[in-house]
Structures are given as structure tokens and as C-alpha cells.
């Protein structure tokens, strides 16, 4: 089993028929080497009556989820890629498309299965079901049919199927039912306001950490992602779905493809000298790093809408450069855009920028077509829903997702774990659709914590990370969520949430020794804290510029030096004005004023001729001028003192961290 190295293959059986359960268990244990657990939901007694069905679903969901959480283990990762076989059938339903996690009136068994699929996205769900699959991919990867038995599903697993990013679209089927229940009308316009993952991305890389990282980048932009981390999955894994898409013209193709150039899958043939698919290319071109050969060999990569090569760049040999140029020519001849992103990458946001999935004007990633995020607060919701709350069952699911995400983060050791935690948080955030704002904010915070942990843990990501894009994104999303709070508390809740998230990110960065990133988060937190402090009492409003000044100067050493330079410049203007007022033309020139301003800034005392600018201050005629002059110097002294304090703070931060 080529699943994440040392992770033991775990299967859970939740089948009603005992003989089937026994036979499947025997097969999985003895043939495929699984550790098999069985779980039985409380037996249905109340189907057909809405109220009792509702209660049964909640009870059964809790019962099963307790079992599953035990299996997930203390670090929460135990269920990643676990296989769960369960029945998906109810006499009340004639097809999969009618099964909704929010179903009220019928079919609690099927509804329970739908809820579990949403609550455990990392699990490979396989259903014993008579329903026809809505797509070839779901049939192949998630349905156990009478004709194929376990063979198809097991073939998919052996090829390294990773369900976390919902490649086949199983979760999307049930999410679509949730959006239908949430939307006020069933019009397409209304449904388009929900985060529907209609586009598919692929990640082709033999390094699992890159697969997970690039997969996460695409997933957070609204793509379903096929992680292609084995030659078998790259060659055959998605073909069925692809061909179906082609035939039906559904556009089910890779809308985005991240791929490494040099691929050394463990299960690849040693060489392609025999030209296995009859490409007709020269022998030296028959290698996976030759994109033309790769496309013909694998067959599933094209058509594609955007192609991104995440690579170390060309080899520093003549042959390497030529191969690179050949690939470039090949891609230039294609109708779709393509680009290269060189490893190491500077985090998820920079990856998206360099991959051209970035809206420069709005300074945010371009989302997949059909994927709307954050949801428009004006979206008309079903009148049956309370205006600010997600349905209880959705909340039940998201609570589980977030609890597991938190558990994973608490003992996260690898990129895969961190991406797992991030994906769970993203899933929860989207299911909530910004309803139930407090939980939605928690989901957002966890997502970003997990993402920064991913970036920090991954040695393939460069040391200095891009934090500003992340902070901007947090602000945008927090604003969208807080629209659900009382309008009078909107600004306060936005600040509160941003502050909490920034501090949590700073802590994550501190734990990972990412000093610059931590400082950037602390600077953001400081600015927000000042803002928060000003908002609390109206009389603090005049202090806003000073606080802004401090916050700006504390952001970084260069910004601090800039503030000092600006203060010197501004005070030189002040000195010029006073020199003019005193009628001393010898002092009223730029250099003299600038020199005095700088001298005072760094020594906190004026030169002799500037000290006596207005002569004897005891004379009645000059008394007001003297008072104004001394006040101005006192103010300059205060600012200089403040700058000195800021310098000490900076030095302390540097010394204490390194």
C-alpha cells in the first residue's frame, strides 16, 4: 500500500449485513493488510417520522463520531486515508442526488452517511450502494458495486488515492445539498453565491510534501484537487473522469495543474526506451521531464486551463538547458498559459502570485470559477434559518472538524499533518458559510495557523515568508464574517478577531523560530491593539496619530529609520519657521535648520545660537515668542525621546530573539 510511508492502513466497517461485514473484514485483513475496526450505528427505529428521524441522526452521528475520534488518536491524524466502508441506501431515496445532510423527513441512514462524509474529509469513503454514481470518478473511487466488489476501490488506494481535497467530488455532492437548503431560492444565481467546487486541479509530484502544499494552495482557491503522487495514479487515476468530461463536454478537466518537471515516481518504469505508447519521439526525449512525452504517456494531463511548473529550474548542463528550452517551446505552442515557479517557494501566497493565480488589483488570489468566497452577506438565505446561524447539523459537523484540526495542530510534526489540519479548517469554514460567526472566526484562525505551520515546517519553502498577503486576506475574511454580528459592534468585533488571529499567528511563528514573520504579526497586533484602545473611549481619538506613528515605527528597523528621518525633516521646517519669525536670516536656510533638527534629535539639546533664538526671554517684548520656542523644543524633545525609546525596543527585540 503506497500510502504515506509508514502509516498503517486502517479500515472501518459500518455495514448492516453481518455476513458482508465478515467477508469484507477477512478480505481486507488477509488480502490487503488492513487493520479493520467495526462500528455499528444505533439501529434505526424511527425512520419515516421527521422528529424521531432527526433525533436518531444526532444520536447516531455522535455515536459514530466518538468511535471515529478514538481512531483518529490523540494527534488527530489516525484517520487520514483510512478506508470506511458503509451502506448508502435508504428506501426513501431513489438516487444519490436526493440525499441531503440536512434532510428532515426521511432516510436517516443515508443522511447520517452524508453527514459523516462531510465530517471526515480525510477518510476514503466507500459505499455499498445501489445508486448510480453521479460521475465516473465517484463510481470508481467511492462505490463498491456488485460487479466490481472491492477491486476498484482497492486499485485506487494502491495507486495512492488521497481523498482530503475531494478529488472525485463526493463531498461536493453533499455540500451542494447543503447550499440548496441554505439558499432562499433554487435559482442558479442564488446557488452561485455559495462556495461550489466545480473545477478540478491536479498536482503531479513525487514528493508528497509538495503534493500536499500545492494541493492546499489550489484547494483554498476553490479547486478540488487530484494529488498525483504515484506513476499509477498519474497514468490511470483520473482518466475515467476525464474521458467522461470530454464526452459530455462538461469541462471536467484540469483547470489548474501544478507539476514538477523532474519526476521520479517510485513505481515508474526505469526507462521508456521502448516507446510504450508510440509517441514517435526520439529516444532521448522519451523521459518524464520532456513535457511532450509526458503528456502523451500519461494522457490525463491535457486539456488543461493553466499549467504551472513547480521546479528547481533547468539542470546546469548543456543537455539540461536544451531540454528546458524544448519544454518552453512546447508550452509556448499550447493554447493555455503556463509558467514556472522555482523552488524553494516563499509560502502559499507567493506560490499563487508566481503561478499567475493572483488578482493584482484586489491583492488576493483568483478563485476557481464558480467558487464564491467569502460569501456575500447579502445572500438571501432560506427563511427557515435564523439570520446569523448555520443549521445545527452543519455546526455539529464543523465542531468535529475544528476539534480535530486543533488536535492535529497541537502535535503537528510534518507538512502532511499541517496541511491536513488546514484542510479540515477550510472545510469547516466553508460549510459554515460565515454563519454562526464565532465558530466561523475560529475556523479562519485555525486555517491560517495550520497554513503558517505548513510553510514553516516545509523545508521546500524559503526561510522568509510572505506575511502581508496573509494578513490582508485575514482582514478581508474577518470583515465578511463580522457582518453577521450586530452592526453596532462590527468594528469592535473585526478588531478583536484580527487581533486574536494575529497574536495566534505570532505565537506559531515564534514556536517555529520564524523571527521576521513573528515580528510582522506582532506589528499588526500592536497596530490593532492601539486601534482597539482608541475605539474604547472617544476622548482617545486625538491620540490616534501618535499611536499610528509608534505602530509604524515599530514595524521594522527600516521603517523606524524612516520615521526618524521624517521627524528630522519636519522639525527642520519648524526651525525654519521660527528663524524667520525671529528675523535671523543667517539661520533661516535649509542646511542650518536640518542640522539643528538632527542635532537636537540625537542629543536632546539645541546649539547655542538656536538656544538664544529670541534673545533675552526676560524682556517683555519677546516673552511670548520665547514661550512658543521653548514649547516647540520641548515637543521636539518628546518626539526624540520617543524615538529613542522605539530604538531601544527594536534593539531589545533583536537581542532577545537571536
Amino acid at each position: 500500500m503506497e500510502h504515506e510511508g509508514d502509516q498503517m492502513a486502517v479500515a472501518v466497517l459500518m455495514l448492516a449485513d453481518e455476513d458482508l461485514q465478515r467477508a469484507v473484514r477477512t478480505r481486507l485483513e488477509q488480502c490487503y493488510g488492513f487493520t479493520v475496526h467495526t462500528c455499528r450505528a444505533p439501529v434505526r427505529s424511527v425512520a419515516g417520522h421527521a422528529r424521531f428521524a432527526r433525533e436518531w441522526i444526532v444520536d447516531a452521528f455522535r455515536h459514530v463520531s466518538e468511535f471515529m475520534e478514538d481512531l483518529a488518536g490523540p494527534n488527530g491524524c489516525g484517520l487520514r486515508n483510512a478506508l470506511v466502508l458503509t451502506d448508502l441506501y435508504d428506501p426513501e431515496h431513489s438516487s444519490l442526488e436526493t440525499i441531503s445532510p440536512l434532510e428532515e423527513r426521511a432516510a436517516p441512514g443515508a443522511t447520517l452517511a452524508a453527514l459523516l462524509v462531510l465530517a471526515y474529509p480525510e477518510v476514503h469513503w466507500a459505499f455499498v450502494t445501489p445508486y448510480q454514481a453521479p460521475s465516473e470518478a465517484i463510481a470508481k473511487y467511492h462505490f463498491v458495486s456488485l460487479a466490481s466488489g472491492l477491486a476498484e476501490v482497492m486499485k485506487a488506494r494502491v495507486a495512492g488515492y488521497i481523498p482530503l481535497f475531494d478529488p472525485a467530488g463526493l463531498r461536493e455532492e453533499f455540500r451542494a445539498r447543503v447550499w440548496e437548503a441554505l439558499s432562499a431560492t433554487s435559482t442558479d444565481d442564488d446557488r452561485a453565491r455559495f462556495p461550489r467546487r466545480q473545477q478540478v486541479a491536479g498536482v503531479l509530484d513525487e514528493e508528497l510534501a509538495y503534493v500536499y502544499l500545492s494541493g492546499l494552495a489550489a484547494f483554498r482557491c476553490g479547486y478540488r484537487v487530484w494529488p498525483l503522487a504515484a506513476f499509477r495514479s498519474a497514468k490511470a487515476g483520473v482518466r475515467a473522469d476525464h474521458e467522461r468530461g470530454r464526452e459530455q463536454g462538461e469541462g471536467e478537466r484540469f483547470a489548474l495543474l501544478f507539476e514538477d518537471v523532474f519526476l521520479n515516481f517510485a513505481d515508474r518504469p526505469l526507462s521508456f526506451v521502448n516507446d510504450p505508447v508510440g509517441t514517435g519521439l526520439d529516444p532521448e526525449e522519451r523521459r518524464l521531464s520532456c513535457l511532450e512525452f509526458r503528456d502523451r504517456l500519461l494522457g490525463c494531463l491535457e486539456p488543461v486551463t493553466r499549467r504551472v511548473l513547480v521546479t528547481i529550474g533547468p539542470r546546469h548542463t548543456r543537455g539540461g538547458r536544451e531540454a528546458w528550452a524544448r519544454n518552453r517551446r512546447y508550452l509556448n505552442g499550447k493554447p493555455y498559459p503556463s509558467c514556472e515557479v522555482y523552488k524553494p517557494i516563499a509560502g502559499i501566497h507567493r506560490l499563487l502570485r508566481e503561478a499567475g493565480i493572483w488578482d493584482r488589483r484586489r491583492r488576493r488570489p483568483n478563485l476557481a470559477p464558480g467558487f464564491s468566497w467569502p460569501p456575500d452577506p447579502e445572500t438571501s438565505l432560506s427563511p427557515e434559518l435564523p439570520s446569523h446561524s448555520a443549521p445545527g447539523r452543519v455546526l455539529m459537523v464543523t465542531d468535529l472538524l475544528l476539534a480535530r484540526s486543533r488536535r492535529i495542530l497541537s502535535s503537528c510534526m510534518s507538512v502532511e499533518d499541517a496541511v491536513h489540519a488546514a484542510a479540515l479548517a477550510i472545510e469547516a469554514k466553508e460549510l459554515l458559510c460565515n454563519l454562526t460567526p464565532t465558530t466561523a472566526l475560529e475556523a479562519l484562525a485555525l486555517q491560517h495557523e495550520a497554513e503558517v505551520l505548513t510553510e514553516s515546517l516545509f523545508i521546500g519553502v524559503q526561510y522568509n515568508l510572505d506575511v502581508q498577503d496573509r494578513l490582508r486576506e485575514i482582514e478581508r475574511e474577518v470583515r465578511a464574517i463580522c457582518q453577521r454580528f450586530n452592526p453596532s459592534g462590527f468594528r469592535r468585533s473585526v478588531l478583536n478577531a484580527r487581533l486574536t488571529i494575529a497574536e495566534r499567528l505570532a505565537k506559531r511563528f515564534r514556536d517555529m523560530n520564524q523571527v521576521e514573520e513573528e515580528l510582522a504579526c506582532l506589528a499588526e497586533a500592536r497596530r490593532l491593539r492601539f486601534e482597539f484602545w482608541v475605539q474604547e473611549r472617544p476622548w482617545r481619538q486625538p491620540l490616534r496619530p501618535v499611536l499610528w506613528w509608534i505602530a509604524f515605527a515599530m514595524t521594522s528597523i527600516p521603517k523606524f529609520l524612516l520615521t526618524v528621518a521624517i521627524s528630522v525633516g519636519l522639525f527642520s521646517l519648524m526651525y525654519y519657521a521660527f528663524a524667520q519669525w525671529a528675523g535671523k536670516s543667517s539661520l533661516a536656510n535649509a542646511w542650518s535648520c536640518l542640522a539643528q533638527s538632527a542635532f537636537f534629535t540625537f542629543t536632546l539639546q539645541p546649539t547655542e545660537e538656536w538656544a538664544n533664538l529670541f534673545g533675552d526671554c526676560r524682556q517683555a517684548a519677546a516673552i511670548w515668542q520665547c514661550a512658543a520656542w521653548q514649547l516647540a523644543m520641548a515637543f521636539h524633545g518628546a518626539v526624540s525621546f520617543l524615538n529613542l525609546g522605539l530604538l531601544v525596543s527594536h534593539l531589545y527585540m533583536i537581542v532577545s530573539r537571536r
Binding site: E18, R22, C31, R44, S45, A47, H93, L146, G149
Partner: protein, 308 residues
Amino acid sequence: MCVVVVTRVQAVDSLPEDDDCRSFGLQGYDWCAFGNRGDVVGHLERAALAVIRGSKRVNVLGLLSEWTRGGIQIQGVLLHPQGNWYEGALMELRSRNQRQAPEQVRGLSTLMYTRGGGEDSPGYWLGQAVAALAASCRGQNPDRFQRVLKAAQDVFSKHFGALGDPDKVVEATGEADTYVQSAYSSEFSRREPRNPAAEALHQIHNLIGPLLLDLESFEDGRIDAEYIQRAWRRKAAERWNKAKELAEPLLGKEAFEALIRSAEGEAFLSLINCLNSGEAPRGFSATDLRAKLCRRLEEMLREKQSRE
């Protein structure tokens, strides 16, 4: 005098109308419905009212303790072993007696999944037991109930092996005079499916699927002949007959027979005979059967499913 009915709404919805109730001798008695939670009690109230039309009184009680505390003379208990509350009821019975009876719970849980019709089915014996119990309560035929109960027990043990012994459960309840252990037929338990072909396909998968899986494991050398013998002796034919009962009316006799008369169909039937007699199957390929017979059967049922 009182008979306690523990049942569930689907059963009630499809239980006999008044006339049949009369024929069962259920009328004219006080009844209690029993559940382990408030909602179930409400549920049962509706059930009991719906079923026992014309009976003198319906008492709906929640916990077993209420049941006996109410001073009701328990004459008989009909415990209908389906439903999550049912497990709760057994828990209650166990806790009252300060003893554990896991084997009974396990046995009865197994019964919950038992379905079927005809004389061999638990559903049939449920009907018999109801009538017998009522008659017994009425004093008309005190021996009949015991005979029916014994017969039901024999049927259960024959078909389902070592399941919960009703007498032990009677002993465990302490209070109840009689315990009729029963499961009931699919006709009683289920609503009419929206799509009979989908229903049939699911059932057939459950019936044949395990058999094929075991065969695949046998072919791979993962399980031995003894395992096959233990697992499938006498059960293979029963499962095949049930699958046949489900598929034949849907696909049409001719189409179904054509399928069975095909080479794969004949191979499959030989396999069933082989497994049923407890012999290790030789010369059959589960992969072939899946690929040909099952694929064809599945396709036919799916066509039917889409038409509906």
C-alpha cells in the same frame, strides 16, 4: 390484565387493520407501549393508538421502572427487537436485575437485521406469538402460547444459530411473565421503497456480495476450505433463493432465467450447491462471476432502476 407492546412505527403502520386485530385476538385488553426515552414513548403512543383500535385503554410508559411502579399487572410482554431504543430497553432490563447479559443483547442485535417472509421467517412467528399470547391472556388456550413460543424458538435456533434464549431474557426481566422474542419480516418493517429495483440491487449485493468476497479470498489462498464450510454451509442456497426472489419479479421470469441459464449462471449455481453442501469450491472464478454474471445482473437492475 395487560399486554405490553414494544414496537416501532413502521411496524404499526403496516400491522393489520381492525379485522385482523380481531383475528389475532388483540382487542378488548389493556395495552401498554414501552420505550426507553420520552420521544420513543410519544412515538409508541401514536403507534399503539393506531394499532390497537377498539382496545379498552392504552397505557404508554417510559422506563421499565415506571412500567412496574404503575402497579400494572404484567401479563405479557411483546418486545419487538428492532430499534435503537430497544437496546436501551435491554439495558434497563439488565440494570434492574443487576446482571449482565451481553450474549442476549448480542443475539438480539443479530435478530434486528433479520428479514424475510413465509413460515420460516421471524415475522411469521411474531404473528403467531401475538395471537397465542393474546389467547393465553384471555385464558382460552393457555397451552397454545407455550407451543408457539417453542416452535418459534426452534425456528430461530435452526436458522440463526445460538441467538438469545427467550427464557433467559424472561428470567432477566424478573417481572414479566412472558417474553416473546421476535424479529419481523421486511413486509412489516419497511416502507414501500421509492425504487424497488434499487432496493433489490442493494439487498442482492448484501446477499451475494459476501459470498463472492469469501470466494475471492479462497481463490487467493487467504482462507481455507474449513472457513468456507463454516461460513456458508446451508446459508449459500438460502441467500441465493432470497436474491432470486428479489430479482426475478423485477427483471421478468424469462430474462432472469436466461441469465441463470448462461454459462456463468450455471457456474454460479454449481458454486452455490457446492458451498451449501459445505464443500470447498473448485474451478470457479469469483472474478469471472463478478465480471460476467454480476455485471449483467447489475446492469439489468440498473436499467430497471432508471426506468422507474
